[in-house]
Amino acid sequence: MWIFWLIAIPLVLFALGVVLSKNLFRSTIYLGATLVLTALIYLLLHAELLGFIQILLYTGGVATLLVFAIMLTQRIVGEDITQQSRGLVGGAIASLAVLLILFFFLGSSQLDFSVRPYPENLNLALGKNLFVTYVLPFEVLSVLLLAAIIGAIVMARRDR
């Protein structure tokens, strides 16, 4: 269990850094660290495939995209983008209220939270689920990704 806390405490600290840091670029670096640590949490939960997908897609894709966007907007304006926050007290009250409600439900639930074993040969079961049971959502997702790529190119193009 100690290894969970070793990952979870830095994870929460990095997440706080993402929402509190004044420097947008630093926020992105913290977000990258948060996503890598989340991948480690997935490894602890025996979701190895998901952990590696997380590192490939999120850390490789999303963090790089965010850095690109920050660099581009900085270059156009020609000055560093700092970011301010507003309504810190109201935001803190609202998010703490949501947190309390969530923990209240967790505490009052009658569920048995102990772990039940995964099927033998996890990867085989995952593949069967993905390509037999859920093959339609999988294919729809590939179309969605294509639409997103085309949409992003059309949106970000300079001359139209």
Partner: protein
Amino acid sequence: MTVTPYIGLGFVLFSIGLFGVLTRRNTVGILMAIELMLNASNIVLVAFSRMHGNLGGQLFAFFTITVTVAEVAVGLAIVIQVFRLKKTIHADEITLLKG
């Protein structure tokens, strides 16, 4: 072993992300906070998948990650376009749809 700490971690991360969405003025910052919230929901999905010994949760998290990546690509393209138009990415000052 129970999954309760994992679910609690997901709740804490979700609240931090919500705080970011509510308080950030910068559009890219808001997008990052939304990433945090989606990430938190993925942790909870995987934890419940482990709790039930059912792979559905893991697969749903897999789909969520893919949709998120698409969302970020389009969102950042919109941010860059709005930035060219208005020379600002502060969410308060983007009032293109205000009548």
